[in-house]
Symmetry: C7
Subunit: 244 residues, 7 copies
């Protein structure tokens, strides 16, 4: 492939009005770990498929609590993701300190976008190489957001990013219209199923390789325990065997 | 196409006295979502054709209230548009706080141009990749402005920017001379018709994919509700069927 | 045409002692809108041929009042021109505030040149892409100045810049020696005639496409109204028909 | 090998979403001295195979105490490693001064990652050329972390980095599941064996060429003395002879 | 001509120890307007051949008073010349204010050289593109200095710079040994003759196209009036006719 | 030899994880003057082979006292070496002033390394082009350190750097194991012999071309006088003649 | 000659450990005016062969007093030399003000080297293009130093730099061993003879084209007058005629 003469930095426009460096940064997400987000009327859930650099290593967490009503997982450059996570926690804390109340999740996601925009308009910086899924609760119920290296963000009913996310997306597209009134447990099963549909056959799914977190109208942000995840996984296996 | 040796940054003049990077940035608008602006003697209206990154996502709003007498929609790089929107809101608020009265819309648009000019004369920045339509009310009645990445701005009777805007422009050119004395509802129908004329045939037009906002002599800036938009859309369909 | 290796920025001298980037910036003026300036012993006049980006748009003004005794019009990059205009207004105001009297026009034009010079000697900036005509009154009577991207300025008896300015120049060269003792109205007719001689045949000349402003010994800076301009234009048409 | 046009600095993304300069920096670790880290339920151990630039020189230490409960060794660019070591000591000291208690090792490693991230997003810096192994004790027991030039960090049961580390890794993979309940001395033997398995046959192993340090529930960070290391080494030799 | 790889900026030495960018900047002077300087024991004189950008423009002055005992004219980039002129005036004024006496002309010229040197040793600047002639009076009598873009300065008995200056130089070389004891008027005639010898045949010499200024033991810096210059010019014409 | 595309600055990693610019800087040492360092249990000695730029010049000293217990000699870029020397003296003095005691030599060498590291991680600097030998005394006796442009430092029993240092190294490798218990004078003879073994045959060795300095348990840093060195040299010559 | 890829700036090392830009800067000295320095036990002398840019110009002085016991002449870029001269004067003055005594000449020369070193290690500067000879007196008698663009300095018995300096060097090498006990006048004759031996045959030697200055145990720095120099020159001519 020939190199475009306009893809060297993020402040050079191509003649067609594109910023290639920003587009390239978005490719980094496709190599990251799988992240799934979805919501019903009452709950929003994040689920990730964790990776370990070797057999000798612990699985690496990419799912974090930001505040009691907001959670985040990310796919792409881990160092960038950690920096963003830290930034959001500080902003949420500052807001609570100043206003005495929880920050609106979309407002927080907007702040992240503002910060990311700056990285796309300076010649001495690079766009972040990470996509984030954010779940949060406000007075209208739960929300799922995706943020991207181009400093844009979107709201979703259900979403999957990261390596091999296409299968999870297909699963979510088939089922998201049924999510609205599901119970917490039913929604968790969908989240895990979506993760499972994108996992390679040789990846072992267990309480450490899969992370799940939930936030809801009556539920502050919390991680599922390893045992809860494994229970869900074995429930799924039995169901499948039955199907077969 | 051969690369021009003068199109690498926005501070290099071509031998013909052009700044290619600024011209390229203007191309970004052509890939953005459709925006339409128009006015009568008493009202100015913005209408946008919203997009969603996938079936699973909500439509993304590109139409914002700046102040009770000013609204904005944009086409191009969303992150740049959000930044501009935030800037204008702050400026409008500061003005109101200092002077105790609403800022003149053209003055506000001028401030935006001043800010955008800076991005076209520094080697470490890039021109904004976004075009904005701004409606606003002053003592002479409603106005429609377009701002552009080259830091220029124009006043229009009616205008359309963004992807496939040519059809909307053609519609507006045919009809704008009749707008002066139209009622609020008649003007809304023209706005929606202009949007419709540029929409691809496979795009569903409904209360979420189309946004409309109005400001007028007796009308502070307000969004049409989803229901109002759908009512207008179905009215149009019936009218068309009748025509056919 | 082969690219010169010395024309990439405004701080690189060619072996012949030229700064190509500054010369290229001067080409931008040739693509701008037509500006005409001229003076008698008692009056100085600016006239511009305005442009509109489309049939749907208002004509764009490029003629501004700087102070009650100084006016400016420009040709080239509009955003640069607006910035310069703003700068001059602030300088004129500051001078009046500090000294309690109007700033001398040549002094103000000199300040603009000083500012423009800086843009020609920094590697991270670009020369302004705009030429300005400035009229002003001091104790010796009216003056007409031209400023240019190379940070130079000149005084003229009569001058025209911008697209197709050659015809206007030719008209002025033929007639400028007769201007000295003309009345205000006679001078206005020469200004409009000069504009007309450079206008393309398909351009409609009317009270909005042509702007005229005057300053003089007994006349603070003022714009001619649309009606005054149209009166002058129709007077010219009748005169021409008579000539024919 | 052809040069990639995207590998010149760490702020340029390749079209596939990679940052080559960061990946190249990680190669520096493979040329560094061998470092091994491992842990049982009660102890964590670091062991290094030291190098001397010539026969006339002392062996160069790459294993440092950070605090009484944290130790670090590194492989790669020594100067970068020393700088990191100094930074961590200061941070640990500051924390103890402010909070009156020891810093959590993972928190300290996170701080290092935050610092390293900055080096990967500025055009005037380079990513660190060093990988670190950190052992530390918190209320859950001992931990082993690896940090890397891409500003990421991982937790391990056992890990080896540096030149010829593959043999040590293989040794650790075979044995790490048996480490949990080992005594301090048994764990030291595994550490030294792992080092030995990666040492070239012509490298003399002795109390100066091998460094070992330990931290544990009842053991503040301490280096093994030269004599203790030599005792372990001779114990291993005898055991091997017996095996043979 | 092939481009030298060492002539891109003023901080790169060629293998022969030359700084090409500084040498190129000196070429700019050869395209500037003609400047002549000369002195007797009691007087120093500057004379310039002014240019006008068109028939419609006034001649542009390049000869300035710096202080009551110092004057300057320049050839090359006008904007650079104006900046230098402004700098010298400020320095002269500051000196007078601080010391209560006139600054020594050579000291002032030295200050200009110091300022110009900085432009030759920074990668983000360019050398000035202007050569200046400075006349001044100190306790030893009048002096004539030339300053140059390489930040060097020289003292002269008589000197000419700018376009076609070779003829003026030849005239001066033939006559300068006779200048010492000439009267003010005789010296002026030599200055004008030198200017005339370098003027193209189609250039009209008159009181506006030629500027002359003088400073002397009993003469503060002053410009000759238009009439005085024209008197000198007609005197010369008559003399020539007589010669013929 | 083809240029590597990764060797232009010290912040660009090669695909193999090397920083070529740092490696190139280390080559500068090989062209510097010969420096030798060695130690016994009680003394450390530095010896240099001085150079003179011409027959007309004095020999140039490269051996300096840093403090009463620390000395330094260097090979490579003299200007860099002088700067380092100055830095170390200031640091040693500051330490003594603050702590009332001599700085530990290794600590001082570490400070130099920290300073040198910064030069290897900024795009606008270059690594130092100088290698230093440092002798110093602490409570464990004398030490010899080498510092290098890559900001690393090593401790040695005996070491030689600079032009033609291989012969000196070979001499030291043969003899260093006998140094431990030598007297001051015996150690000096070894130092001078090492220098002599690397000196070209046409270089005259005398009290000015050879410098020697010593520090020891009972000996504050001091230079040998010219006479002492010449005495040692003649002693060596006689011994050699005897050997022959 | 092919361009080396490592000679573009002074912070890029060649693979052989050279900094070409510094070496190129040293070439500038070879094009400068001839400078000669020499000393006896009691006196040090500087002599220069001055140049004039044209027949019309005064000879340009390159020999300056720094303080009553220190003098300097330079060869190369005059603007750089003047800047250095100014710097040294300020430093000498500051020292005298602070310490109440004259600065040691070597210390002052060292300060210049420190300043020059900075120019060799910043990417936005260039090395000075000038070599200086400095004479000075301290308690050990007179000294002659040479400073160079590489920020190094040397002490000499006698030295010559600048254009065609080889003949002067040869003269000095033949005679310098006889200088120690010469009288002031005898030493001056050697200085002028050395200058004469390097002067081109068509250069007129007189009291303005040759400058000589002396400093000594009983002699504060002073310039020889024009008459004294011409006396020496005529004395030499007579001697030569006698020799012939």
């Amino acid at each position: 492939m020939l190199k475009s003469p306009y893809d060297t930095d993020c402040i050079t426009w191509s003649p067609q009005g594109r910023l290639f460096q920003i587009e390239y940064a978005m490719e980094a997400i496709k190599q990251g770990s799988l992240c799934v987000g979805l919501k019903s009327n009452d709950y929003a859930i994040l689920a990730t498929l964790n990776r370990a650099p070797s057999k000798l290593a612990e699985y690496q967490q990419k799912l974090y609590e930001i505040d009691e009503h907001i959670g985040l997982c990310f796919s792409g450059l881990t160092a960038d993701g950690r920096l963003i996570c830290k930034y959001l926690r500080t902003e949420a804390l500052n807001y609570k300190y100043t206003h005495g109340t929880n920050i609106n999740p979309q407002r927080l996601v907007g702040k992240l976008s503002d910060k990311a925009q700056i990285k796309t308009q300076r010649h001495s910086k690079r766009p972040y190489g990470v996509g984030c899924l954010v779940i949060g609760l406000d007075e209208n119920g739960p929300h799922v957001y995706e943020t991207s290296p181009d400093a844009n963000f979107y709201e979703y009913y259900a979403v999957a990013i990261g390596a091999r996310c296409q299968s999870a997306k297909t699963y979510l597209e088939k089922n998201y219209e049924t999510f609205s009134n599901l119970s917490k447990d039913e929604l968790i099963i969908h989240a895990v199923k979506a993760v499972k549909s994108s996992a390679q056959s040789d990846v072992e799914l267990n309480g450490r390789s899969v992370s799940v977190a939930i936030v809801g109208r009556d539920t502050p942000f919390k991680f599922l325990t390893s045992d809860e995840i494994e229970a869900t996984l074995s429930q799924l296996s039995q169901a499948m065997e039955v199907e077969v």
